[in-house]
């Protein structure tokens, strides 16, 4: 009995740590899909791009992947702002975001993946950092640093964004975009500019999520596809656009996946997120903390 209790408690810990990381992966989509109503299914592709940049700089220069990702934030921000501009001009302004906008992001997802395959091949890549490998022990509890560091970094990212969204003018304007664009205009803020900034931020978070991903597991270009379902499952389950909801949903999914992997085998894990997504859509589309 003692052994299975150990197994149980470690499955919960692994799930929570995994969930923290999932939260970082989802935050970008929570902003773009949840707040801005832009169905950016290409988000996981940008995360993988972040992973590869972390991989290149880490193997060439040897800087810590998380530091690299922070240095990459402005680059990803401008990439995101640029993509939003194209999206706005081509689809949103003409009211064609449903069919063509979705296909546009699907095309981006696909092109990014194939380009990475052409440049780097389908080999798994990984990074080096002092915290990959050792783990902390607390009695029977096991905290692998490889999971703990990304979880802490993810929660820090969340805290920073939550503060930004609640206490700055731009941050509050971003929340307002979802609620009342006319009121926002009357406050002297252009909704398009605010959305561009917000989308830039959402893509910038992919740089961090990508670095965390490659710390947790080796990465190859098609890994991103597994995350599409996870990301949207968490986003919908958390109640679109709610940051605290996203963290709770991410932890929940992390724990469910960790249990599935421990008791049924890891090959079933990808189906869990999708099952959760389908069930949520069918029975509680507003999510746990829905508006």
């Amino acid at each position: 009995m003692g052994l299975s209790f150990d197994l149980l408690i470690n499955a919960v810990i692994a799930g929570i740590l995994l969930g923290g990381f999932y939260a970082a992966v989802t935050i970008g989509v929570s902003i773009s899909f949840g707040i801005l109503d832009i169905v950016n299914i290409a988000h996981p592709a940008f995360i993988i791009l972040g992973s590869y940049i972390a991989y290149i700089v880490n193997t060439r220069v040897g800087i810590d992947p998380i530091v690299i990702s922070i240095l990459m934030l402005p680059v990803f921000y401008f990439l995101g702002a640029g993509i939003y501009q194209v999206y706005y001009e081509s689809f949103e302004r003409r009211g064609q975001e449903a069919l063509r906008g979705l296909s546009f992001f699907f095309g981006l997802l696909f092109v990014t993946e194939v380009m990475l395959i052409l440049v780097f091949g389908v080999d798994y890549r990984y990074v080096e950092a002092p915290y990959i490998g050792p783990s902390w022990r607390l009695g029977v509890m096991d905290f692998p640093l490889r999971m703990l560091v990304p979880c802490v970094a993810a929660l820090a990212l969340f805290g920073a964004l939550e503060l930004f969204l609640s206490y700055t003018f731009v941050g509050r304007a971003i929340s307002a975009v979802a609620q009342d664009q006319l009121a926002l205009r009357l406050m002297g803020a252009s909704p398009i500019r605010i959305k561009r900034i917000a989308f830039g931020i959402s893509i910038a978070t992919a740089a961090v999520a990508g670095a965390l991903l490659i710390i947790i597991q080796p990465v190859e270009p098609s890994v991103g596809r597994e995350y599409i379902g996870r990301v949207f499952a968490i986003c919908v389950l958390g109640g679109l656009g709610s940051l605290p909801g996203t963290v709770i949903a991410a932890m929940l999914l992390g724990i469910i996946e960790s249990f599935t992997a421990t008791f049924y085998g890891p090959s079933w894990a990808p189906a869990v997120a999708f099952g959760v997504l389908l069930l949520t859509l069918a029975f509680r589309p507003a999510g746990l903390l829905g508006r």
């Binding site: 449903a98 296909s103 699907f106 696909f110 052409l118 596809r225 990808p270 999708f274 997504l277 859509l281």
Partner: protein
Amino acid sequence: MRTRVFLLISIAVAVVVFFGARMVNNDYVFFAGYTVLQFIVLATAWNILGGYTGYVNFGSAAFFALGAYATVFLHKFYPLPIPLLIVIGGVVSGIVGFGMGYLTLRLRGAFFAIATLALAVVLQTLVVNWDYVGGSRGAYIIRPNEIAVIGPYVQYLFLLMLALVVIALTVARGIERSQLGYGFATIRDDELAAEASGVPTLRLKLVATTISGALMGMAGAPFPYYIGYLQPSSAFGLEYAVNSIAMPMIGGTTSWVGPLIGAVLLGSLQQIATVTISSAVNLLIVGLLLVAFVIIAPNGIIGLVQGWTRGRAK
């Protein structure tokens, strides 16, 4: 033109294509041609939902693979004739399409799109963990070399796919000109207004998902016989999802001609690119074309041609 006349004409064209291909007397023509025909069916099926009602299905590969795996499953019991397998594949995929639609179509369109992405991964995980149909190792299907009357087996498969193309195009064109098609168009243009004027939008969307899913399953059913060795990664390949979106988008989504043009152009281009360059590069080309077309030519090649002829008339 009446639907019956259209059917007769397309059968005539199909017969010409088949005997034309036989005149070349090269098995490769049938192998490559089968793939192009398969894409015509997939693109047309996708367009019945995507182009006519405006709901994006990213899970074409899932419906296709369902048809293919239904065949593998039944093949283990007793090797049935392929036309029967096509019908079964269609029924299975149609039912799954209906179920998916029922769960998600009452919500916003984006949720349906995301759920279809999800469906592909769930089904792939199921198949990978299901040893009876081969699991992750894949399943062999040994096909006969020859068949009575027609001769080489690949020609028989080609002929079946040609028949499916005729069926798919006739269905698509029939829908376009029927009350059903007008109902679909109202959903695409303004679903709220349609709902308010009494159009049974949910029922129509379910009809579209079911037909579209069934046709994709029918396209997948003969696939194990064509490829001989079916792996989950080849049946659920991303290229099916991408191509069945890219082809209608590039050809034009508003009429049955668009997916046909898109599939013939892109399908042939890919057959050439796969042989001459590499299959990764040809997928890149498809992706880039898709992005370029949705930005620059929102109504596809048909839209470009229409704009051009209208410009000349002025």
